[in-house]
């Protein structure tokens, strides 16, 4: 079973590195122009109706009141209740909620198993439970049942609603079928061979200590192979929205910080304006040498 362990190790590495690559890529993108969208969650005292500092007379002379708690509250509300889906797409809300709660439980379980596999951790008081037990078994079962129900619900909805089906891409179906396969094979393994998750804990322990678990029950294998496929693929799919949401919300929708004294925007803008332009339309005639500063200060008569 060394091969299975190697595959999962490679997939896990791919998952972490892929997510890291994508996150770093988004984080290091050039400063963009402002494109906020109200309500902005950190506008203290105004978020309830979507107001902003632009409502204040001589706003640049006044201190900004930015509420980090407001941002946290909005994100937490979205993550925990899928508020936007509930309000704007009620038929999809319940399956989506079940699906996401299943994933929350299972990713948390994965984290717990990884921590429990670190040498010495299980020897700490009370941590022996991380080697397998009823709690872990119920935890896994709950996550898998919720995930399976949610996944089935989403698939049924996508397949039965002609408009939704028509607007779906091959990838949208692939994700759901792949996850359903992971959930179902995991449920089978849990029910047949690993009710206390002892095998899973031992498998993860083997991964972390580089001593692959030798005797895996056959029914345990399909889930980890499929899980590996899922994890390796995830960073290249739209499922990275679990962290990309930080950028779409925090760095775009809520990025209302003004370019006033004491900020670094001017310096960053100077750098961007020196970038070359190659847009070819007659009113620009970018040649890859002219900069944004050059073209922005010309008139362009066509």
């Amino acid at each position: 079973m060394t091969l299975v362990s190697v595959w999962v190790a490679v997939a896990l590495a791919g998952f972490f590195l892929g997510c890291l690559y994508k996150a770093v890529r988004y984080a290091t993108m050039p400063m963009h122009v402002r494109w906020e969208l109200y309500p902005v969650a950190h506008e203290k005292g105004k978020v309830a109706y979507g107001g902003s500092y632009f409502e204040d007379l001589d706003w640049w002379t006044k201190p900004r009141h930015v509420s980090k708690f407001g941002e946290f509250k909005t994100i937490a509300e979205e993550v925990l209740t899928l508020k936007q889906v509930h309000e704007n797409n009620p038929p999809l809300w319940l399956p989506s909620l079940l699906f996401h709660y299943g994933l929350y439980l299972l990713f948390a379980l994965g984290g717990v198993l990884l921590v429990g596999a670190v040498p010495g951790v299980r020897e700490l008081p009370g941590m022996w439970r991380l080697g397998g037990g009823t709690l872990l078994g119920v935890w896994a079962g709950a996550g898998l049942v919720l995930g399976t129900l949610g996944c089935l619900g989403l698939l049924v909805r996508r397949l039965s609603n002609p408009a939704l089906k028509n607007a779906s891409t091959p990838a949208d179906f692939l994700h759901l079928w792949l996850l359903l396969a992971v959930f179902v094979t995991s449920l089978a393994s849990l029910a047949i061979a690993d009710r206390q998750l002892a095998v899973a804990a031992a498998f993860v322990h083997g991964l972390v200590t580089f001593k692959p678990h030798a005797a895996l029950p056959l029914v345990f294998v399909p889930q980890v192979v499929l899980l590996g496929v899922f994890l390796a693929y995830l960073p290249w799919s739209h499922m990275t929205h679990f962290f990309a949401k930080y950028f779409t919300w925090h760095s775009v929708r809520w990025d209302d910080a003004p370019n006033v004294g004491g900020t670094t925007y001017a310096a960053k803008a100077q750098k961007q304006l020196m970038r070359p332009v190659s847009w070819s339309a007659p009113h620009i005639k970018g040649d890859g040498k002219k900069t944004w500063a050059d073209v922005a200060t010309k008139r362009g008569d066509s």
Binding site: L37, F54, Q84, A167, N259, H283, R299, G300
Partner: protein, 536 residues
Amino acid sequence: MAENLIPNVKDIAKAADTLSPIDLKKILPLPPPYDKDDPAALWKELTEQRRSEVDASLDGVSALSLRRPADPAEERRLLEGLKQGLKKLLSRDDNWTFLQQLELTLDHCTHCQTCADACPIFVTSGRNEVYRPSFRADVLRRLVAGHGSGANFIKAALVGRIELNWETFARLAELSYRCTLCRRCCQACPIGVDNGLVTHELRKLFSQELGIAAREAHADGSVLQLKAGSSTGMSPEVVKDNIDFIDEEMSEKAGFEVKTPWDVEGADVLLMHNAGEILAWPENPGAFAIIMQKAGIKWTLSSELVAYDAINYGLWYDDVQFSRVALKHAEIAKKLKVKKIIIGECGHAHKALSVVADRILLGDSNVPRESFAPFMADIVESGAIRLDPSRNDFPVTLHDPCNLSRAMGIVEPPRRILRKIAPRFREMTPHGVDNYCCGGGSGFAIMSGNNFANWRMLVSGRIKVKQILDAFAGELDASIPKYICTPCSNCKGQFRDLIRGYDMFERSRIMYGGLVELIVNAMADVRPGFLEWEFH
């Protein structure tokens, strides 16, 4: 077109006369008594002759008057241009302005359709598939996967393939002018995917790489503004003459002399109007002048080229044109050494100069910019002008321009004013940051070639008509004058067309106008009857 009941994204490349025509039977119904109106009365099919000249194969509408390439060589050049544009859209050099937003949007749509019902155009059309917010974004995604930077077989298979031919080209260009950039879809998206941004980026690709843009926004818009000083074509001499004329008229109406100051160095306020107001709604700059004068503000207009027109149409379709105009605006304010710029009743000028241009205005070019709304709210609330709200004793509702509300979070100031001056003010539903676009957003209000004006009235603006009728429910009788307060020039242009198209002035005496006109109508020091209740 029965076979096209639900066009798929890939069908955009299909040879068909009309991929997804407007279905008049499915158009959003209106409340009584307008429910009996036949939508067909507002619709205009293009003639066979016109159809043979311009491409209207998306939905039977032509905003751009695109002509089929004369020969295969031209077609190849256009398609190659589109491919090059796709690469530039995702380049750090060519699109640093919006790259982060765009990549996040392209990468993360789950096609859950949570955004769909937030789109007034999609809903009003009776859910025409090509207006679905994710539709045009998916065309772009597929083109990027198949033809953009790093295109490969696996990516294309996962997002779906799409053929790049003339049909795709022409329909995609048109499709980028079937969304008003109101961004309600983005507001609804649980992930933050911004399909409105995709519209913006597509327009940009066509304009910046291929020189294809709406004539009204580009050749007759930003190009003219940079060349002649204003998209209206007014030179500094003409604009001064026109303002002189407005001053005379205002003096007569107000009962005291009104004088607009020009080019006052060191003024507290440089007021920037959408120059369209000066020609189409002179009572708006006139009302500003009356209020400024009575409130004792040290203010000025600028007669420098570009500065007497606050518009910046580049906001809707072209970053380069946008930057050129924004830099001019800031440069002139700096030269005049004014303390701040007050942006008049023009929504997109607000967003352009206050938000989108903010980080490219460097050093002392970054003159503080403020909306007229809090500025006027302060004047009204401070007691600087005497008010008699009983002069506004008629039903008033407020249209929140998207660029003030959703794009800038300016929600309360106009309401603070209305509560002081309009005793019969009532809200539309929804309003504030949840408002619906007037249907003329992102330049649509100035676009009317072919049958685009019909589309704008029947599809993009109809939900606003419904909101207005709902807001005035029970008072629709023509004996009761009613006022839609719409503090944005672009929206005003659209309301003018909607009121005319639906005959709302004659039938229900529904009138539209700005906020400052309503303030002046309630000013005790001004002769009564500033509002004339004549439709124009």
